[in-house]
Homo-oligomer: 313 residues x 2
Amino acid sequence: MTGDLRRAVGIDLGGTYIKAALVDGSGNIEHQERCPTGVEGGVDGVATRVAGLVHALASARGIDLTDVAGVGIGVPGVTTSEGTVVLAPNLNWRQVPFKRVLAERLGTRVELDNDANVAALGEARIGAGGGCDSLVLLTLGTGIGGGIILGGRALHGSSFAAGEVGHICVLPDGPRCACGLRGCLEALASGPAMVRLVQDRLSAGTPSVLVDGDGLTPEAICSAAASGDGLGQAAVDHVAEYLGIAIANIIALLSPEVIALGGGISAAGDVLLKPILSAAESRSLEGMFEHTRILAATLGNNAGSIGAALLVL
Amino acid sequence: MTGDLRRAVGIDLGGTYIKAALVDGSGNIEHQERCPTGVEGGVDGVATRVAGLVHALASARGIDLTDVAGVGIGVPGVTTSEGTVVLAPNLNWRQVPFKRVLAERLGTRVELDNDANVAALGEARIGAGGGCDSLVLLTLGTGIGGGIILGGRALHGSSFAAGEVGHICVLPDGPRCACGLRGCLEALASGPAMVRLVQDRLSAGTPSVLVDGDGLTPEAICSAAASGDGLGQAAVDHVAEYLGIAIANIIALLSPEVIALGGGISAAGDVLLKPILSAAESRSLEGMFEHTRILAATLGNNAGSIGAALLVL
């Protein structure tokens, strides 16, 4: 098999697993591999594992590393334009020049960015955005993350931490967030916030098919809402209202072509998406809302590795 | 006097006056003229007056129009990348291809943009931003307007109306805004909102040096606060709290180098700026706030004409 410079390796470096994919110029995954991150092995250990995955991918496809455009990598933390990881709590990294470390190890071109930016890039070019110029990705899960693509590129900002969608304030006197601020979107509309709301109402005696315990997940709550449970619907509406406010604020400021909703909770589909759309529309300026498409993200767990490959494609 | 292509004419087209300035490559105003807009004369009448100002500027400086880089113009409405004014309520214009109209009339290069974007460009390159790459301008007055500069250029967004800073929601159940939405920044922190708060408290018997009537302006309220009046300070703190939330949200999303505060109310100086800074800091994510400078705008009423000239410089 011959090489093709319209092909790259994308690495999704997480706190638990490293995922690597060989991606073609259209964003299709040709082959993928993964292994545990092994955070305890330090920067050197992680670099060795990443390099191992890259070589495994190449040999599985019978190609040489000189035959790919390079290696892109998304990391869970704040990064600089030079490819240094300033802070990545899940990796216990501070000021790690990982782009340089990896480029030396592999002898190939390496580009590095924050994982949320990389996922947003994947959704803009290949996923929900279908090649659009401007997209904001909100990932709804245990936390609420995000990435902003403008002019086809990730917005980093002066702090290199732009796109903190989960920490815009949507209720000034709202609950305390894990970040220490009050009324952040994440404190009101994340998975744990949704579960907490249902727990509180169950404790207060609200009737529901839902039962407190391990089975009480955002997915279970969305299912209950879909089957007509009043408490499930109330929790969905609560989350949708604050997501709607955040989305309307993003539209007022940035007016992006697409806002994509990803992460575990977004898999609930229309039961969650429709109330979010409705809340966002009712909170948006006339003449602006209709210029932004609000869509479910489409790349799922592959957004990270596909987006990372796009850093070098 | 010889011509210089590092010089341009900037036009600030308002509902009442048209202001025109001959601006050099460093953003200095060499000469300026103004005349009434004469909205009742329609597009043709306004074009004639703009052309008249441009020729008056040139002849006052003894130069020819071929000796300037072109004419930039800021208009109070939604504009397109082709220089069409989609909607400008203060001019009674809809779908006016004013860039083309003016270019044909003048026989020179013309560029056109929304007035808030143009002012933000002026503040970024010449004013408070001092040549920065990314700046968000908030103009505080009867309304709250704004413009966003990223990568040195105005952000227009898919609706061409991006930068509606005054209509981000900062209090979900807050007062109704003139735009019809609830809890917009403008409904809580504009000049009229500040005056209304003081009027309400005066009616309720709150003691103050302030007296309801024509003299009750945002400027008077800020002066009262500066001289130790409790009600004046409460009004300033109220406005500062919501401006702080909006600014913190802008920082979380965009992390711009500079946020500049302009418009009439910003002239109050430290009595208003300090509480705004303090509120914005307390609402901002650790590690982000210190990467954005929050400053008073410096170009004042000339931001529009200087920024407009920069469209062609």
